[in-house]
């Protein structure tokens, strides 16, 4: 596994990106340290991102801090 990630930041948020190797292949890890969230994307998932429009992200960002769980 590689330690060095690149950081993408602006005044609104911070995300870290790095390549993660498994025994049998690679994935891209995107993490948001402040939200304690992370996702591992395989090449096909990444490829599919390239044909998304900002509408998809608008949809994802209707919840600006991620999924809102109900209190129990």
């Amino acid at each position: 596994m590689e330690d060095n990630y690149i950081e993408i930041a602006n005044e609104f948020s911070l995300a870290r990106v790095r390549k993660v190797k498994t025994r049998n292949g690679e994935r891209l890890e995107i993490s948001a340290p402040k939200q304690e969230s992370k996702i591992l994307l395989d090449p096909l998932e990444l490829e599919s991102l390239t044909w998304q429009t900002s509408e998809l992200f608008a949809e994802l960002l209707t919840q600006p801090f991620g999924p809102e769980t109900e209190y129990v």
Partner: protein, 461 residues
């Protein structure tokens, strides 16, 4: 500020007498905020500052903050930088690139079109769309937004005359600084700094004060940074004013258009593109009349400077253009915004040399700049005094006691408005008369009265 006092001040100004405390009085400044800056077209940014989708810069019109952004479809927008929820400033970084803006207070999230996109716990907090329909909510925009040659302006008055109407004849001169080729400008900056001076002083100086150059900037000539401003030479230039702005020019040695433009240091490719983009009248101002634009001011607080210093020991002369905004902080303090501007199509070596020329002359490190500001802070400081309330400054250069012009306007002036050679405070008077009309609540652009306002009621300046 009592209206009677104000009309007395404006009356003095129209006669060429400036009550000194207009450069320091807080009451006047409060009124300026509303009547001058609330009703005129204010420069915010140049399109080249936000070339890519998502690029934005923050700019102010006095106390109002705006996000000037190119949205994801490429459209330029001006968004009021105040959250629709509890009023937090949404963006605080001076420059950035983002598709979405997330408010720091409660995280309402906006698309870079200004449209409200995300609200935390939308359902719990508002009952979803029953309480808050996001599609119907967008960051405010100023009532009027428009651009000219890539320069983005906004006006806070919804009944404002159009930008085109406002710029009027001054467009003819604006082109020299902002349209040297089809590609237009690219700007760098702004450098920003604060000076303890009233905003009007810089605006007046850039509009027409050729009289100060030989004295204030003597050291610049002594060290051979600048070959032009010997007093005898400076007065051969023209002082022009058209509608809402005016400026100064130098008079060039004989030659055709190419030779005159080459004299101030433009490379061949820029000369060629100028020939394509300037109108025959604009070219004639340089070639036949022999006048090369230098500084200028567009009312109220946007100035330009075009100059051509020697940038090395070999005497290489290279011109530069700077755009500057006198952003008022208070009656006695101004934030200066200074951009370096250069034609986008110019060769790289020229862009670099021109940038050096700019840095040597203007901007926070520039020698002209430092000379000027010393005068302006001093004026502002002494204008605070008690006796200053009694002093009316003599703003009548170029007219006699009766208000008759000492010199006739230039005949066959190829541009709009009128122009004079010789020393004179024609432009400072014109600028302050515009100021007076706005302060009294009479929009001079609508009234179309500014070019014929007489010096005294029965005189014809």
């Amino acid at each position: 500020m009592i209206e009677a006092d104000l009309s007395a001040i404006v009356n003095d100004i129209n006669q060429g007498w400036i009550p000194a405390n207009i450069y320091s009085d807080e009451g006047i400044f409060e009124l300026e905020k509303e009547r001058v800056f609330g009703n005129t077209w204010m420069f915010l940014a140049h399109e080249s500052e936000i070339p890519e989708p998502g690029d934005y810069v923050l700019r102010r019109i006095l106390d109002d903050s705006f996000i000037v952004v190119r949205d994801d479809t490429g459209q330029v927008r001006v968004l009021f930088n105040m959250c629709l929820h509890r009023g937090m400033q949404v963006c605080r970084a001076e420059v950035g690139n983002a598709s979405f803006f997330r408010c720091p207070y409660h995280a309402w999230t906006y698309k870079n079109t200004g449209q409200l996109n995300g609200v935390p716990h939308h359902k719990d907090a508002y009952g979803g769309n029953k309480g808050l329909r996001k599609e119907e909510m967008s960051l405010l925009t100023p009532p009027s937004v428009d651009s000219y040659n890539g320069m983005i302006f906004a006006n806070l008055d919804e009944d404002a005359p159009s930008l085109d109407e406002y710029l009027g004849g001054f467009k003819f001169f604006l082109d020299f600084y902002t349209r040297q080729s089809e590609a237009g400008l690219e700007v760098n900056g702004p450098q920003r700094w604060r000076i303890k001076a009233n905003w009007k002083i810089g605006a007046e100086n850039f509009s027409g004060d050729t009289y100060h150059t030989p004295h204030t900037h003597q050291s610049v000539v002594e060290i051979q940074l600048f070959r032009e401003p010997k007093a005898s030479k400076r007065k051969l230039g023209a002082l022009y004013f058209s509608d809402i702005g005016g400026g100064t020019t130098y008079h060039l040695p004989p030659g055709n258009f190419d030779e005159k433009v080459a004299y101030v240091g433009y490379p061949e490719s820029v000369i060629e593109s100028m020939k394509r983009t300037f109108s025959p009248e604009q070219r004639a101002m340089i070639s036949e009349a022999g006048f090369m634009p230098s500084a200028a001011t567009l009312f109220p607080n946007l100035s330009f400077v075009h100059n051509w210093p020697q940038i090395n020991e070999d005497g290489l002369v290279v011109p530069f253009i700077s755009i500057r905004l006198w952003q008022p902080i208070s009656a006695t303090e101004t934030e200066v915004y200074s951009w370096f501007a250069v034609d986008k199509q110019a060769p790289d070596w020229y862009k670099e040399a021109s940038y050096k020329a700019y840095l040597m002359c203007f901007g926070s490190s520039g020698m002209f700049e430092q000379d000027d500001v010393e005068n302006w802070t001093s004026i502002t400081t002494v204008a605070k005094g008690q006796l200053a309330k009694k002093l009316k400054l003599f703003n009548r250069m170029g007219v006699d006691k009766e208000g008759e012009l000492l010199h006739e306007p230039i005949k066959d002036w190829p541009g709009p408005g009128r122009a004079f050679t010789g020393f004179g405070e024609y432009n400072q008077r014109s600028l302050l008369r515009l100021w007076g009309q706005y302060m009294l609540g009479n929009d001079p652009v609508r009234a179309k009265g500014f070019t014929s306002t007489p010096m005294s009621p029965n005189r014809a300046e």
